[in-house]
Symmetry: C2
Subunit: 106 residues, 2 copies
DNA sequence: GCTTACCGTAAGTGGATGCTTACCATACTG
DNA sequence: CAGTATGGTAAGCATCCACTTACGGTAAGC
């Protein structure tokens, strides 16, 4: 339950997917609705949504004729945690290096 | 001064580059040193470093024979800010949707 | 000055990827 | 039951990307 099929980082690495994700965060939408607001075709949006869904970032729910996509809370929390870990591990030693900024190799 | 050549998100989307970045955050290293610790060749590391450098995430400094790469504070701060903006814009409306979680359409 | 170490770049290659059009399945509408 | 709307998927394609080997160029060691 804590392992996702694909990397959320890589999934959001694509600008188009980031745009889709941000738009979904603003408001859950149907596929055609997203495609209408983006400069790409509807199948392309569908494929992007598949990637996002595979990464656990979005979930879909059938709503009559259409299919509503929305941001997945669990995936967001997971990514949030991963980002926090990344930052902490990155900035921890980084701050130490900043202290040695004056001169340390001599 | 606030525009970077390439996307930091996309740069860190690659797992190998994330590993390099984290390792550099832990401790500044030379190219061969990184290549020795990774399952890829030295030129591959060089190319990854070029991408990271282009994204403003790392800086390099010649040290005698070798070339030391380290994390760039400005790039890290920039990415941090961008991530914060992303999260705030994403989670703002997302929280609203969570309140409607009980049931709203029936 | 010659050899060795370190590194960036050029060239080439296999595989991933983002996009398109075409097609099929499902659900609402008359 | 047709006809329309919505969307997932297959097939094809052009591009990008990560990696390799080969080469050139600078700095240290003898």
């Amino acid at each position: 339950m804590d392992a996702y099929h694909t990397d959320a980082w890589a999934a959001l690495g694509d600008p188009t997917r980031r745009a889709i994700f941000e738009r979904l965060a603003t408001r859950p939408s149907a596929v055609g609705e997203l495609a209408n607001a983006l400069p790409i075709s509807r199948p392309a949006v569908s494929q992007h949504l598949k990637v996002l869904k595979d990464a656990g970032l979005v979930v879909d729910r059938p709503a009559g004729n259409r299919r509503i996509y929305r941001v997945d809370p669990a995936g967001v929390a997971h990514l949030r945690k991963e980002l926090d870990r990344f930052w902490s591990s990155a900035l921890a030693a980084f701050k130490v290096a900043a202290e040695h900024n004056e001169e340390g190799d001599s």
